[in-house]
Structure formats: structure tokens, C-alpha cells
Symmetry: C2
Subunit: 140 residues, 2 copies
DNA sequence: TTGCGTGCAAAGGTTTTGCATGGCA
DNA sequence: TGCCATGCAAAACCTTTGCACGCAA
């Protein structure tokens, strides 16, 4: 489970990770893609390092993690210092598995306008709210 | 990828599965829990069978699948013949990992009322819309 | 020097797949 | 009889963990 508590040291890996992720701002990136990128440029950064750094960045709020399907890889998005309670909408096609990443906006409007704009017909809406539950907040 | 096209034959396994799932209507059940249940009652139903049947039921709209975290098991909920575009809201605590399953309702209202009702403070909202994309619909 | 960060490999958990067998229509 | 369903085991995948070593402060 992800536990708050940022990074202590500044390292080359983390700098390289952020630099790469900034080039892909607004996109969805998987750990595998990141790993491939660094192998392609001759770095030996391992997946464990990538996971550990991404998890810290998620805890720090510079990164968002999306899970669209069990068994398939999570997607990460770099959001820098732009904190806040943004909404993110992903459309997953139940036939081809493609994920459409549509603009953020009000969920209600988007749901109504989505079909005429993009042709995507919604069958099911799943919403997950991330936060801290009452019990955990009482624990200190 | 899940492909539409329901079940052809009626089998004991499927009947037993549905019977069990009906006893847990409105709850979130994992494949592992189902497997444990059937082992406990002396059935030899394997996980592959459970996965294959659940996938078909999801395609048929009698079952819903929820994925809250990558690497952890998906949750299934039996919804019988009650089709429709219901909304489902799950609250995941980033500290303890617990998942609160709150009542269905308008996302906007719930988000506003959630904290005073349950103490859960929202940090992030993730919405996934499941459906069929324009390209797949054109393919017939 | 102290403790965190890293790389590698192994382990853990979930889901899918191959294949021979058994069951439904 | 002809598919489909099933069980079992293996494989495939994603993610986490253990451990020794390296590096930042």
C-alpha cells in the first residue's frame, strides 16, 4: 500500500525519470514503456527503481496512477506541481481494448456529449474516489 | 480482451456459480473467494472455469467487474437481469487500502456529501467509461 | 559515516492459455 | 456426433521484495 512520505535524496535516476516524463506530459505511460526508453538510451535503470520512484511521486502528488484493467499494466501521468482534485476520464473499448483519453471536464456533460463527439457509446461508468478514510484520519 | 457472445450451454458450474453469487448480491466478490467457497463445499471447480464464466457473464451484462488497483484482484458483482447504465462508486483509502462501497447516486452530490457522511476525504477522482468505440462499431 | 537509492534476481499474486477429457444438445 | 465446457498445469504478466552494493548528504 502506498504510504505518504516523499523522497529524501536527489538522484540521477529520479532526475532522468522526471525529464523523460515531462517530454510525455499529458500522455499515459506504463512502467514497461519507461523501462524500454531507458534501455534504448543505454541506461541500466531497473523496473524496481522505476516502480519505487513512481510510487513516491504518486504519494507526493506529482504523478497520477490509472488502473483500467486488472492484469494489465497501470498507466502513469506526470502532472508536475499542478496539484488539485482534477478529474480524469478514460474510455475503454470492451471490444478492442483501446483506451481513449478524452479531455477533462464535467463527468455529467461528457457522458452526454461523448457519443456524438467521439462515437463512443457508454455501457458502464466506474468511478473510484481516492482519499483517506475516516478511521485512518483519526489514527493521527 | 472481452468479446461479446454469451454462453451456449447451460452447465452445472454456471448454475452453481450464479446460485452462489446471488447469495452475495450487492457485495464485491473476488475470484479467489469464489474458488475458496467451492473448495469448501467439495467442488473441484478450477479458477480458469471461474474466470471464463465470469468473463462471459460480464459480456452478457449480468455481472460487473471492478478494478481498483493493478496487481490486486478484480472484484465482481452479480446484477442479474437488471441491466442499465448504473453508476458505481468505490472509495479507496490510500493509507490502509480499504475499499468503501458507498450507495449509488449522482457523482456530483456524493462527492459533496461524502466527507460529512462518511469522513472520507477525496483526493482524486478516477472515472472509467466502458463501452464500444466508434471504430469497433463501424466494423459491424 | 549513515542511511537511502539502486540493480538484479527471485518471489508473489492475478489472469490467461494449451490440451486432453467430459458433458450438453 | 460436434461443439462447447471443464480441470489441471504451465505460462504470461505485472508488481513487490530481499539483499548486497553504491552513492548522496
Amino acid at each position: 500500500m502506498a504510504v505518504k512520505g516523499g523522497m529524501q535524496y536527489k538522484t540521477k535516476n529520479r532526475d532522468a525519470l522526471i525529464a523523460y516524463l515531462q517530454t510525455r506530459e499529458g500522455e499515459h505511460v506504463t512502467v514497461n514503456e519507461i523501462h524500454d526508453h531507458f534501455r534504448a538510451v543505454g541506461s541500466s535503470m531497473g523496473v524496481a527503481t522505476i516502480y519505487r520512484n513512481l510510487e513516491k511521486m504518486v504519494a507526493d502528488g506529482q504523478m497520477r496512477k490509472y488502473v483500467v484493467d486488472s492484469g494489465s499494466a497501470a498507466c502513469f501521468e506526470y502532472i508536475g506541481a499542478q496539484h488539485g482534485h482534477a478529474r480524469f476520464i478514460h474510455c475503454k473499448c470492451e471490444k478492442c481494448g483501446r483506451i481513449l483519453h478524452i479531455d477533462r471536464g464535467e463527468i455529467e456533460e461528457m457522458a452526454r456529449l461523448l457519443e456524438e463527439r467521439s462515437g463512443f457509446r457508454i455501457d458502464n461508468v466506474q468511478t473510484v474516489l481516492y482519499g483517506i478514510c475516516g478511521e485512518c484520519r483519526e489514527q493521527k
